[in-house]
Point group: C2
Chain length 224, copies 2
Amino acid sequence: MKDPRRDNKVDIATRVMSRNDSFAARNHELLRSNDILTLNIISSPGAGKTSLLEAMAGFFGPGLAVIEGDVRTRRDAERVEKAGCKAYQIETGGSCHLDAEAVGKALEHFDLTDGELSILAIENVGNLICPSGYDLGEDMKVGLLSTPEGDDKVLKYPSLFSRIAVLVINKTDLLPMLDFDVDRAVRECRSLNPNVVVFLMSARTGEGVEEFCRFLKGQAELEE
Amino acid sequence: MKDPRRDNKVDIATRVMSRNDSFAARNHELLRSNDILTLNIISSPGAGKTSLLEAMAGFFGPGLAVIEGDVRTRRDAERVEKAGCKAYQIETGGSCHLDAEAVGKALEHFDLTDGELSILAIENVGNLICPSGYDLGEDMKVGLLSTPEGDDKVLKYPSLFSRIAVLVINKTDLLPMLDFDVDRAVRECRSLNPNVVVFLMSARTGEGVEEFCRFLKGQAELEE
C-alpha cells in the first residue's frame, strides 16, 4: 500500500527543488547578461574558503564581489571587505545551505551593470553534503578540500566531488605534518569526475593562489 | 493569508521530528537498561572523530562498541574494527545526519546484554549543522572542533555547540603552525553553553586521550 505521508514528502521536496531551479535560472541569466563569472564555493567548515576569498580580493580588487553564506555571524563578510572587495552576508539562521532565492535577493545589493565586476564568488555554508544539491545560478562549483581533513573525504562525499568543475586542495603548508596523500585525493576525485581541474594551494602562505586566479581570469574573459 | 504549502511543510517537519524522538526514546531506554553510556560524536568532516575512536578502542577494548555514520563507504568501521572494538557501519546514502530509527536497527547487530559493553560511541555524519537537531537516544553529545578549522567556528554553528556536553579541541599538535586561539574557542563555547566540559587533545599523538577516556569511564560507572 502507498504511504501517503511519504508521497507527500517527496512531492514537497520536488516542488522545493523546482522552485529553487527557477530562481537559479533567473540568477544565471542576470549574471551572464552582465558578463560576470559566478562561482559557488563549497567545503567543510574551516577548509579555508574565506582565506581564499581574501587572497582573491588581493588579485581582483573591485573586479570581485562576494556573497557570504553562514548559519550565524557576519564575520566572513567583514574579513573579505577588509581585503578590498564588496561583500554581502546572508545569515541562513539555521539552514545548512544557500538557496537560489536568497542569492537572488543578495544580488540586489550589488551594481552588476557598471562593467567593473567580472567575478562573483558565493561562499556557501560550511558543509560537504547539503549545498551540493542546490543550484544557485553559478557557472561552476569549486570544491575546497583542506589537507587536515584527510585524503579519504572525496569518496565519502560523492554528491559534491562528482559535481565540481574545480578541486582546490588547500593548506598544502601543513602537508609535512600530515599523512595526506595528494595523489590519492586527486585520483579518487577523477574517478567520480574525470574532467575536474585541480589546484594545490595554501591560501595562508599564498602558494598556488595566483595560478588559481589566472585560471579564473581566463574563464571570465572567455565569457565576455 | 496563510500559505498552505508552508503549513504543510512545517506539519511534516514536526511529524518527522516526533517520529525520530519516539525511536530515540526507545534506543535510550534499551541502552540505559543495559548500563551502557552512549555518546553521539559530531564534528566537521575530517576533524578526527575516527582517530579518536581508534584511540578509545585502545583504552576500552571490547568494552567499547561503535556505530559509524557516513554518506558513503565502510572505511571508518574498518579502521575502528582494526583498532580492537566491534563496529557497525550505517551508510546514509546521501542523508546528511543519522536518525534514531537507523541507530535502532544498527543496535540489533550488537549483543547489549552480555555485560561486556560499557560505552557505545555513535560517530555521526561529518557535518556541523544537521546532526545537531536529531536525538539518537544518546546520554551526551560530544562536539569535536579541530584546530585547523579555526577558532571562529563555535559562534558560527551555535545549534551544535550550545547542545554538547563535552567539547574536544582536537589536533593540538598543529597549534604551532596555526593562529588558533584556544581561549577564544572555549570562551565562546561557554558563552552558549556554560556547563560544557572541555578537553584538549591530539588523537594522532595521543595527547589528552587518556584524560578523556578516564572521564568517560567515570561517567559510565556513575550510570551502572
